[in-house]
Symmetry: C2
Amino acid sequence: MNSFTDNLRKIEPYVPGEQSKEKDIVKINANENPYPPSPKAVEALKSFNTDSLRFYPNANATVLKEALAEYYGVEVENVFVGNGSDDVLALAFQSFFCSDKPIVYPDITYSFYPVWCELFNIPFKTYPLDKDFRINVEDYREQNGGVVIPNPNAPTSLCEGEQFIRTLLSYNTDSVVIVDEAYVDFGGYSSVALTKEYENLLVCGTFSKSRSLAGMRIGFAIGSKTLISVLEAVKNSYNSYTVDSLSIAMGIASLEDDGYFKSTINKVIATRSRVTNELRALGFEVLDSSSNFILVTHSDYSMKEYFEFLKSKKVFIRYFSLPRIDKYVRITIGTDGEMDVFLAETKRFLEEK
Amino acid sequence: MNSFTDNLRKIEPYVPGEQSKEKDIVKINANENPYPPSPKAVEALKSFNTDSLRFYPNANATVLKEALAEYYGVEVENVFVGNGSDDVLALAFQSFFCSDKPIVYPDITYSFYPVWCELFNIPFKTYPLDKDFRINVEDYREQNGGVVIPNPNAPTSLCEGEQFIRTLLSYNTDSVVIVDEAYVDFGGYSSVALTKEYENLLVCGTFSKSRSLAGMRIGFAIGSKTLISVLEAVKNSYNSYTVDSLSIAMGIASLEDDGYFKSTINKVIATRSRVTNELRALGFEVLDSSSNFILVTHSDYSMKEYFEFLKSKKVFIRYFSLPRIDKYVRITIGTDGEMDVFLAETKRFLEEK
């Protein structure tokens, strides 16, 4: 009897979110952008010199880093890029959370944080959000092995401002603080400027939401040269070429098309505002979102039933069967047309139930 | 004084190989394919529905796995895909090498193996190649935490056959055996068929060499459902979406264009044969390559000087300043035109020195 299975990694399989293959659906369950990528990014793809794909990408993705550095007003040495922000965050966990003390994060937050802690054997401790789903910064005064918060938080959609982040940093000078800004472009406060003051602050971002490039896997981080150089060393010990040549080209083109970027952001924000108001008029409670999604509940209805009802009408939103948020649903902001279908089916749900 | 730096990962930065930005060079130093990707893969890129890039890729890259399963005559559950074969190998090290016993591999081999061992704290032990640069299978009888060999080996270019692999597997039933077949398509023996007999065998491959898609980052592995399911669990605990949507589409198109694939392979093999013969006629010793590169030495000349001379003539080959192979250079097989330039400069070197 073979025993090679004894030394295989024992790990609970993480199951990625449901992706329906059906057509003619309203897919507002994965926080994807309803608008296509920048036409300049598309042009970068169509005009790409495909013969050059036989070469490895530049291992440092230098040209993409340069474009990000210019965009954010930092130096190239302050920029890291990876294969989506999950890759960047996973590398950051490996790079910065090497203490025996537990890292800390909110109890309702991005579901991948505990998964990475298990994968890398990082001890962790969570602090509950308060009754309004806000992070209580006073919780984060204790000694810890590191701090990670998404800002805006997910799936709450709520964003903390500069004073909160400065207080958090003042309490945590001896560990690395990661602020995960996947959703910040939809009207949140960004801590990027604070990376010049706080050497232990890493800010992570992604091209998957606000830049409509989820399919291309581009994530990045901005921080001090100290932090970025450790991230680079760990990344280069894992996989030298994480960002492919087309992603580099499309990422740069997207950054160069700020007009398109701002116009799609503004459309999402306007639709969010309209949908929030309409849902509130229907008796829903809707948190004040700074993201491209809203967290919603209704005191008279089961949100699980609401989710199932919409699913039967081919409108896919997200329901979390988890403590504290099982009375809520998360709804990504789609196009106005998609949200009209969503609102019509929502009204039907309220009438029928 | 801040002490956050105390808990940063201490790791020796791995420096990826030199990539010259100069133009009009003969770049035969990175084992890249001299021919462009399949026209069908290029067409898949040009005709891609770019609007869909706003969506995340399929987390399981199912369609690419299906194409690989059909190509290799296995089931979809026997196939894993990743962001280049370095990603696949790094995940395999994390997934399968969890023993306290050292893993084992040859002392001259792919330079990333010790890097991953350091990153994941995996103990390791190496066995020297014999005087002809071959792997001695009898070395691999001892109890170990796992085995990894590239076949063909790099940078030796030498390939072992079925009997060698079967013997290796017969000695190692209690640990996972990884055969890294990055170069196998250039005339080597592939162990893929043996994965049906040996549940502890994982075979890794890449689209970067034989399929001219280094720029797109596509790697894969074939093995038993037991091994693949553990790899999937670890990968999904790290990053759900490692292979982007365009890589999936181009990978499938490349697999469907077997005529182009075979014709470029055959061209590389024919050029390799010609260059090998010409170098031998000039007094060089050239190992019998089953790869898209050759390992070369000459008893009368310093290979370091040869490397430097060619570099000054804008012909970039690879020299390793490492014990045992510092008397050799590694030369990637380019187009016939590139190899003519290389051979002309080689003759000039012999005349001038």
